[in-house]
Symmetry: C2
Subunit: 257 residues, 2 copies
């Protein structure tokens, strides 16, 4: 499995991904799932991947190869005029990679080799944008109504983001929120694991503002992980108490107001 | 979908279940998924169900029917000497109900009609016990290492229970913890919904200590739901801040200790 989150803030974009890949529980490896490319001062584009590793590596390698042949016409990462163009091109590449693998495996290939991606970035003259690209090659774009996308093992870490996200939050607070979301997921699912990759893209900077890898011995992540249990218990304590005598809380309700 | 949690505490057992059933998103109904039977002073036994509604209703109806014919020999709910016997009998009933439905539907029935159950209760002279019963009819029992079971849509609400559970907690605090877990799940998944059924079984009481239905206009649940966002944000604020300058947190680490 995998866990990746991309988030739009007023200040820019924040992305985090884990690095664990597994084929069964007895075959675990570490692979980077976050990639970015930039044309300094003009664009920065990042992609995160979930799903079949051979599929996503094939897509990333093709994107990577194209940036090394800058004269090639369909180099959308570098030449695409808008993030929409980039998303369209990556979607096409993703779908055709999956289709090729499925076709060459006949009946056994059906429903396998799928993958999905989160695309984030900004091109000069336009806003920072965030997309989720499906295995079928189509995609959706984030908005202030739905300002973050998750792929992979999304459920454990979702409630805290739903509650903690604010569009005007500081980058540092968004990173902390994502770390808590990843910590909750890692604690619940063996198939998501450290190290984590972090990328912060400031609006109108057209270059990564901050990138970092959270490894297994990261003192800050360890502090977040160990403090969060106590912080949650304090938060629970701070809620009004349930009472067997007035469970609907008509009296307590007045106390709380 | 469904969400049910059963929890063992030193003081006894706490169970909570939602009531939403759906066949697609456009066919939603409310059905009770928690049932209990008692022989006052001697035993109290509760069952929660997830999965195919026709299957679980068939199992519950058969259990129910048997309690109305108290002379029948295989009335394990009333006559089973241990909770293990009760679990074995319910498991057998669940598996045969699923098998019957699958058999009579031939090829189309394969892999359908499955369900799982949580069984909780206490019989005089023995400890309170909690089981998870699989569609195959086998089951596992909770222990202090794994003191709670979830069935249905388990992931959204799991991290908070992992963090908040303590075996010596008060019943009232356990109920609050479960309400937060259910609220997180309801916020993330349309297929889990109010009303919620709550059952508290005190150790050595052999009767429900407390039962309650949380309906859509429940003032206490509403307060928990609306306060939890603020409580979580305070908890996040209380964690040390991430810093772009020393992301690994070597300095902050000292501050926190």
């Amino acid at each position: 499995m995998t866990y990746c989150v991309g988030m739009v803030l007023e200040r820019g974009l924040v992305l985090m991904s884990d690095t664990r890949t597994n084929s069964g529980v007895d075959n675990i490896s570490t692979f980077r799932k976050m990639f970015h490319w930039q044309v300094p001062g003009e664009r920065v584009i990042a992609v995160m991947c979930a799903g079949n590793l051979a599929t996503t590596q094939a897509v990333i390698s093709q994107l990577e190869e194209r940036t090394k042949e800058p004269d090639e016409r369909d180099n959308s990462l570098i030449r695409g005029r808008t993030m929409f163009n980039v998303a369209t091109e990556i979607g096409r590449l993703l779908r055709s990679t999956i289709e090729d693998a499925q076709r060459s495996n006949g009946e056994a290939g059906k429903g396998r080799f799928t993958a999905s991606m989160i695309l984030a970035g900004q091109i000069k003259g336009m806003q920072p944008r965030l997309f989720m690209i499906y295995p079928e090659g189509n995609f959706i774009e984030a908005s202030w109504d739905t300002p973050f996308f998750q792929i992979g093992e999304t459920k454990y870490g979702r409630p805290i983001i739903l509650r903690g996200y604010e569009r005007d939050m500081r980058f540092e607070d968004a990173v902390k929120l994502l770390m808590v979301s990843f910590d909750s997921t890692i604690k619940a699912n063996l198939s998501v694991g450290l190290p984590l990759d972090l990328l912060v893209i400031g609006k109108d900077e057209f270059a990564p503002l901050h990138q970092y890898r959270v490894t297994g011995d990261d003192a800050f992540f360890e502090t977040i992980s160990s403090s969060w249990g106590a912080a949650l218990r304090s938060a629970l304590d701070a809620l009004p108490s349930y009472s067997f005598d007035s469970p609907g809380g008509s009296e307590r309700d007045r106390d709380v107001d």
